[in-house]
């Protein structure tokens, strides 16, 4: 079954929401948010609530706007020229696109992990403590403690504790990605945004990262973009399915994977397209 973009763009699509009862309420509240790269629209009236302390997965075929949506959350899209937006994204009740929003502070509250590991070309310890250092924290003890705690949380401590002053570029790909996660949580953010964190890793490293996500669950609100359906099923509490710039269906992960209401969701999660 092939769906042409025109099928969707021409008629309004109603997002299907499954009833959920959040235990701690929502931390991020995306409200009819649209985004345009120049003239071409990449997101169409997306609306969803991200529950606090849980793992939310965003799935969907390539080019459907997952990264765009994720980057909008901490306003990394500001770096791109020619962008225009519509609608609101509220973080802890406040619209992040308000004029008086402190973008830097927003980004500090949302750690981000990228698809390709991007450790800075400096020592392992310097990488982890980078978010603290830019905050002007210079205390040796504080830095060392943070470094150790973050690396332990990402299960990297035992592997690198003897070589903290070596270049981070010498770590393996999986270790580098865990280092990037350690860096993202070093300054204790509220939310952790992960854009296909395992796509460059082998299965063993992937399992380690998934364990890590399960470990971090509860401490942080995690939003993870993934292409891997099993991964989404394994690690997430909620799942959103996106298709050509729209959120098609959003609800508890087991419902999305077992009893989706939309045909497209069904086709996608059963691997019939995507």
């Amino acid at each position: 079954m092939i769906i042409k973009p025109s099928d969707i763009e021409n008629k309004e699509i109603q997002t299907i929401y499954h009833p959920q009862k959040g235990e701690q309420g929502s931390v991020i509240d995306i409200d009819t948010f649209s985004l345009f790269y120049g003239k071409s629209q990449a997101l169409f009236d997306t609306t969803m609530d991200v529950e606090k302390g849980l793992v939310t997965a965003i799935i969907g075929p390539s080019g459907c706007g997952k990264s765009t949506l994720l980057k909008s959350l901490n306003r990394m899209n500001d770096l791109i020229d020619n962008i225009s937006i519509n609608g609101k994204i509220r973080f802890e009740g406040k619209n992040i696109f308000d004029r008086d929003t402190d973008v830097i502070n927003l980004r500090k509250q949302m750690g981000m992990v990228f698809q390709k590991p991007n450790p800075f070309p400096m020592s392992i310890a310097d990488n982890v403590t980078y978010p603290l250092k830019i905050d002007g924290i210079r205390g040796k003890n504080v830095l060392a403690e943070t470094c150790e705690r973050s690396l332990k949380r990402t299960a990297l401590w035992d592997e690198v504790k003897d070589r903290l002053n070596e270049s981070a570029l010498r770590l393996s790909g999986g270790q580098q990605q865990r280092l990037c996660i350690a860096r993202a949580i070093a300054a204790d953010p509220e939310v952790l945004l992960m854009d296909e964190p395992c796509s460059a890793l082998d299965p063993m490293a992937t399992i380690k990262i998934e364990d890590l996500i399960n470990e971090l669950k509860g401490k942080y609100t995690i939003i993870i973009v993934t292409h891997n359906m099993q991964q989404a099923a394994r690690v997430s509490n909620n799942t959103a399915f996106m298709y050509i710039g729209r959120i098609i269906e959003y609800g508890k992960t087991d419902i999305i994977f077992t009893k989706p209401k939309s045909m497209k969701t069904q086709d996608y999660v059963t691997g019939r397209f995507g």
Binding site: L79, I104, P131
Partner: protein, 569 residues
Amino acid sequence: MNSLKLKPKQKQRSPGNVFSGSKGINLASKGEKYLWSMGGALIIGLIMIAAFLLLILVNGLKTFYPGPVHRVTLTDNRVIAGEPFRREKISQDQTLETSREDTCSAWRTLYKTGNFDLYNKDFRWVDEQDIKQISEPKDIFYIERTEWGPFIGYIHELNLNHETFFFSRERLSQLKKEHKAAQARRNILKDLKKKEMGSINHELDNLRLSLKRVELDHGKDSVRYKTTLDSLSAKRKKLEENYGEIADKIEIIIKKDAKYSVVLKDVSGIEKRVNISDIIRFYPANNLTLSQKTGIYISRWIEFLTAEPREANIEGGVMPAIFGTFAMTLLMVIIVAPLGVMASLYLKEYAKQGKLVSMVRICVNNLAGVPSIVYGAFGLGFFAYCVGTTVDRIFFPEYLPNPVYGTGGILWAALTLALLTLPVVIVATEEALAAVPQSLREGSLACGASKWQTIKNIVLPNALPGIMTGLILAMARGAGEVAPLMLVGVVKLAPDLPVDTIFPFIHPERSFMHLGFHIFDVGFQSRNAEAGKPMVFVTTLLLISLIGLMNAFAIHIRSRMKKKYSVGQ
């Protein structure tokens, strides 16, 4: 070289070969058809560079090696003596028509005869068919003097403190001893003249200027002027007394010098008296062991590197030029580095990339193609005449009408060259900035770093090796530039270095000497082009070495940076 096997292109068109005819074999798709031309281009380039360096190296290194001195008897029984310098075929006009090889076998030799004061020239061509006999007498001397260039001839007589001896081999060590003493006296004399008298002159100047300053500020009739005048006259009297004392000391030394002299005799018997203190170096040119020759060679190099020039720059050293080149280049880098880096940071990181920025970029690139003399003219007109004159009017009114900053100087030269090399630095820095992966910037920004923090902590450290490459290129370009400098402060002979012991120690307004200009000067502006020629090679060798040395240092720093920020260490 495999490609050479796939040569015959005609094969495609050969009749009967239906397959190749219909389909066609594109040679370029099969073999590295152009490999040989690429390799060839590289080799031609390398050969040209190597030949150039070899020429400079050979000529530069051999210049100071003491050669033999020939005593040449000509067919008309005249005798000359000199170092054979160069040999060439005489071109005869008739040979062109007869086109017979053996008719043009005539050669001539250029002899460096020295004795400019006697012959009015240093060099002399001798046709080889005019030569009756050549010998290398053991007792002929090559004597370098402070004036008139070298003397080639015999030492006839010694006058040591009213005693006169005929010179003979046994007296050589005595002469050497006296020569050492005379040299010590010459050094003292130089110090007295330059340092002590110089500083007194400087203080006298200061007194005059401070008086002028008071006059400008308060007027000639004011009380202040009168009191200053009184106090200054006392000081001046004291200084003038000191001056007199030093002049007396100098007088004594000069008198003593006159008592120690030698009488020299050239090969044709003309005598010439020379004070021993005026002799720099003397040696029996045809009676030297290898180690003595090496000693002379090394001592000449040392003199060249550490002494000041003599005799219109042809003799002596180039120390002021080395220092000037080095200081000017350093100053230029200090100016151009922050300017270029900040400009390209703005262009690359902050400015909105659009038509305007591309225009600016094109303009900057084109600036690199403006002839350097134009920069020189701009430097003179803007920096020296416009800025400099204003500075003079505001800060140094008492010096007027003499300009302080209102004329060429090392600061203006460095600024001019900084402007000249700015495009190189901007282009290289922009490339270095562009080469920093976007993912690193995103990583830093996502950590909550501000733009400036990202630039400072991530972008600049990663771009630094590339920026250094740009600075190295700029440095090489700047250090080798001559044309603009001739307008903005380089001189043939600078009396003082831009850095010395007189307060405030650094004098950025002073004119300076430069190796590049020195090459031009000795090679093409001196009274004697032939004598300057070897100096051109030596100075070029030195300039290239100096630039190489500075580059090596910068490259060393760069590789240490690279190590620091990369996988390597």
